[in-house]
Symmetry: C2
Subunit: 404 residues, 2 copies
């Protein structure tokens, strides 16, 4: 039998009961005959509590020290889970990031894994030990402790799975899989059985928080299959792999982003350099622009430029443009919009899907303000009030009805 | 200028205010021109809390895992103190035991330091960094984390001071020095300005808890001067070194142990093997015997053997002897006694001191039940009710009056 990496998030390790539950999950995998490497996050909100304390002592603590402080969270949790496993009769040992051979660059707080040396893990596995690894942490060449940034335990798990050539990397949380939309908000959301890496990356980018995007990228690179599942349910989760069986559904998910503002610059002279002036100005002030559309007027002399930014940055963007950009007749900002994105493999090459989405919105009498599409995604800006109805309509009229 | 090692106990790091106070102490030493290596214990009662949690998961957690868990306490504290130092404007860096080069054997929970490799500390000091080292922890050759047992941070501090050839190792706690008796109990107790290693070891063995006996032993071996002082007072503490100026006092301390029982075996036949029968029996059941006296009768045929044990083990000792040792006429146990010990350098070779002690007790009309003496110590068993008066009399009539 092979190796399985099982990663547990902080919410499924938050107290004694949760630790015992995780131990039982691991025990079951051991009894199925697998060698298990478990990877843990810190318990519950421990990381936040540890950092809050440091910030009481210094407004801006050194990042190197924050990494030492934060890594204690995973250290404790790994050892507590090991103690719980021993109580369940499983031979086991805990390893810190550096003991597990997780080497990183020296970018404290958001280090990247440069190399995995799994020698110690292999040695422990050969003794039939379950190995519990403190996630989220590594060691730089300078022998300093580093952390991989929020969600870094996912990255640890996938990197170890790749280095150990594990059969699969299971990511346990309180969420039992990847859904076509947020199931808390949209009861009609459907759990996906499988999804491809690239679609998962697009979903993660659009805010599906179940899985860290960097971990998905790494899994893609090394072709590590991931299963996202709940630690508190036996239901199968969602498997992420290259040749995912998309269940004949082209659409894998629909996401909504409400904190969006749309800014429109009217009557711009239609000549080279205008877009550069506008977006160069915004970039200098670190304002992230998402969708951009430009349409010229009938006579081709004037153009309108429309783009979206985060709602929190909208006023700053408008102020900047009013002060430093004289090329527009009017600048209008609409915060009352939302972005709805439909994600799926090969969306653009299947015109039927896009057509079906537009049809669904038309049937609901929803006006589309902006459209932008890529191979994997169709994003629409609509009135904020229409967003939920739009997602409902897409679920009702498109998902499950379009076949590849 | 040289290097000073400053060790802070958990009680002087227990909250934000205490951490800031420790940072100010270090800052002052830096401003005096010294390179400072700080060594920390875990904050307040953190170690106990971490272990309690592990014991909820498993009655007897693996010692290796307890070491991983406990060492997180010093890890956090070292980094928090570093953050507090940075806030006080001091360039600094924290190092874990293994980063500081503290190598130990693999006796989890009570590892012994085998070697110190101070290369990283020296590198940081050469950059004018204050180095804050997590005490109590080290690394075994197997690359596993170890801890040095309770009070181990003292050992870390002394070992580092020896390896770095520091000018002095300062041990900060809430107690401002070594007293001739427990100052909480005996207001007449006098703080010692200096005391020798061997007397300090004897005092530590007799229960003076300010300093770990192993740390004193190590300091003695490498001739590291130690100063015991309070983190909350500017008063000079007690310096422990080889050629201590004993302030013309031969007596360095008087200690009391109340949980003592005296067991007397009467009418033992005076022939070889009796003592072996008795004390072999007790040793097999792990009963620690302290003072032992034997006196034979006038005709030399019979003897009495008297010894002391911990009060908690007295009943078990008596039961054992009654069951398995038939050689005595009567076995009498007296729990109503106390042991008073007078500690000082060269006691036995200065008969004046011993005489003065006996004289003081005689003046107070205190009956001495047992006497045992060594080069460094005179121990007396008296009625429990007389113990405090005895210590008072020794202070009043002997300490400060006998000169070397």
């Amino acid at each position: 039998m092979g190796i399985i990496v099982e990663k547990f998030g902080g919410s499924c390790l938050k107290d004694d009961e949760a630790l015992k539950n995780a131990a039982q999950i691991i025990r079951q995998t051991v009894e199925e005959g697998y060698d298990v490497v478990a990877v843990v996050s810190a318990q519950g909100d421990m990381t936040d509590r540890l950092i809050t304390k440091a910030r009481r002592l210094h407004k801006e603590p050194a990042k190197r020290e924050l990494d030492v402080i934060m890594s204690a969270g995973e250290q404790l949790c790994a050892s507590y889970l090991t103690v719980a496993l021993a109580a369940a009769g499983i031979d086991c040992v805990s390893l810190l990031g550096w003991q597990a051979g997780v080497r990183t660059n020296r970018l404290f707080g958001s280090a990247r894994v440069t190399d995995i040396n799994p020698a110690r893990i292999r040695r422990e596995l050969s003794k039939k030990h379950v190995v519990v690894v403190a996630g989220f942490q590594g060691i730089a060449d300078s022998m300093d402790m580093t952390t991989l940034g929020r969600g870094g335990s996912d990255t640890t798990a996938v990197a170890l799975a790749a280095a150990l050539e594990a059969d699969i990397c299971r990511i346990y949380s309180v969420i039992d899989g990847i859904y076509t939309a947020d199931p808390m908000e949209f009861p009609q959301a459907v759990k996906l059985k499988e999804v491809s890496y690239s679609v998962m990356q697009e979903l993660a980018y659009l805010g599906v928080k179940v899985l860290n995007p960097r971990a998905v990228e790494l899994a893609h690179k090394y072709a590590v299959p991931i299963e996202v599942r709940s630690a508190f349910s036996d239901a199968p989760g969602t498997v992420i792999r290259e040749e995912a069986d998309m269940e004949k559904m082209l659409i894998s998910g629909v996401t909504k982003k409400s904190d969006v503002a749309r800014i429109r610059l009217n009557g711009i002279e239609n000549r080279a350099g205008q877009a550069f002036s506008i977006f160069g100005l915004l970039a200098r002030e670190n304002i992230d622009v998402d969708m951009i559309l430009q349409a010229d007027s009938e006579d081709g002399n004037k153009a309108d430029i429309v783009f979206t930014v985060d709602e929190a940055q909208a006023d700053e963007a408008v102020n900047l443009l009013q002060k430093h950009y004289a090329g527009a007749n009017t600048i209008v900002c609409d915060k009352n919009v939302a972005k709805v994105s439909v994600v799926g493999l090969g969306m653009q090459s299947h015109h039927g899907v896009i057509k079906a989405v537009f049809e669904a919105l038309s049937e609901e009498n929803i006006n589309i303000l902006m459209i932008s599409s890529s191979e994997l995604r169709l994003s629409l800006v609509v009135d904020a009030a229409d967003a939920e109805r739009a997602i409902g309509a897409i679920h009702r009229l498109v998902i499950g009805k379009t076949e590849a």
